[in-house]
Amino acid sequence: MIELENVAYSYGYGGGALLSELSLKLSPGSFHFLTGPSGAGKTTFLKLCYGALRPTSGEVQIFGKDLRGMDRDDIAMARRRIGVVHQDCQFLDHLSVAENIALPLAVSGQEHLADGNLDELMAWVGLTERANALPAELSGGERQRAALARAVIMSPDVVLADEPTGNVDWEMSQRLLTLLVELNRMGKTIMIATHDLSLIRAAKAQVQARVLRISNKRLQLAGADL
């Protein structure tokens, strides 16, 4: 689905590369965790995966197409197949929570698909009661849940989630994990950046997940200690 080959990235000039020699192939149906100390480049790595950043060198392929050959509209189309949870969840502040979650459908002209799906999803992430609230009226954890719901509403082929459980309690994080595991069982590709080791352990009990670790600018497969 998404392939990086020998990718390097650095922000602006001056400093050296933040990431280098990254190679990774996200095959359909795979489940990855991404860890590493704060500031190691997890968010940056995810942005490379969905075309928000273009690599300084190396090659990125999204759904079989070389990123260099994709214009802005191509990237927009690819985004419709990739569900992204940002680390700082951003919403359209003037739309209700339900409308925000259904936004990917509206943007791609498929509002009619929302109905049953939306309600079920809202119930699962525990936002049914807050459906008509504005995003500014949500608690931190509620925002994260809404962001995850928005990312999966289109049942995208790939879900990239950046720290999706940083602000929710243990039970809720298990529910969110279950949602992602379900999607994975349906053949979707999942990648989660997180600091929460217990989340990783819980996931490993349910699916075959690979844990990647960014350290020293490189991507490594984490040891069996997780």
């Binding site: 802005r72 509209d73 927009a76 419709r80 359209l92 003037h94 739309l95 943007v107 002209g109």
Partner: protein
Amino acid sequence: MKLPAFASLLAGDTNADRVVPPTGVSARLTLLVSGAMAFLAVFALALSLASGRLATRWGDELANGATLRISAPADQVAAQTQAALRVLDTTPGVGAARALSQDEQRALLEPWFGPDLPVEDLPIPQLIEIIESDGSFDPAGLRLRLAAEVPGAVLDDHARWRRPLVQAASRLKLLGLVSIGLITLATAAMITLAANAALSANAQVIAVLRLVGATDRYIARAFVRRFTLRALTGAAVGTALAMIAVALLPDAGETAGFLTGLSFVGPHWIWPLMVPLLAAIVAFVATRTAALRMLGGLS
């Protein structure tokens, strides 16, 4: 600017419209700016058109504005008149010159003496009417030549005081046009800035929309549509108010003529109607450019 895009804009797409926050100070600003500027533009236009009419009219009246008076002993009058006419014939700027008949002279003097003046018996000078061709001749030069060749001739350039009036009217017209240009430029700049303000105030909206797969056109459309409609509405209201105001200006009637006719005349009513259209086009181009340039800079 693509015209189909401009036209389809008015058809509307409520879906794309909803994703941009509905009210924004920038939108109200656009409404106000285009309204106020349209109002001023219409006034400037009225001023300009009226001055233009005035300049034309006064220009026409100027054409026969000078007279030559030949005071000489009775036996020399005819000869000097011929000499003066020859001189005038070769003076640049003089279109035609003609000695007045006695009847015409009497008519001219009537206000002073009544209709019964015995012109024939009086030592009245012969008058020569000068019709200017284009613009004006040089009175000082003409006087010099006449002094040499026709000693009894006195040039009375009685349109002298009126010529600057025509100049003034033309200048007023120019001033009106400059104001309109200025107003258009200022409006374009202000709408561009307002659009930019709206776009940067909505940077997060744009980021979210990009994230969920919206294309540039989809995003730009909502902004462009909104600003174009606001500019059109604002300018239409401003224009309407200004036209009402102009129409309400008391018309001083036929005798007045000079400056009072500030209202639009006949086909000139078309011009102010162009103002809202111009405003909408300006807003469309300004917003579209701003939006696409800004979007191009984002990932």
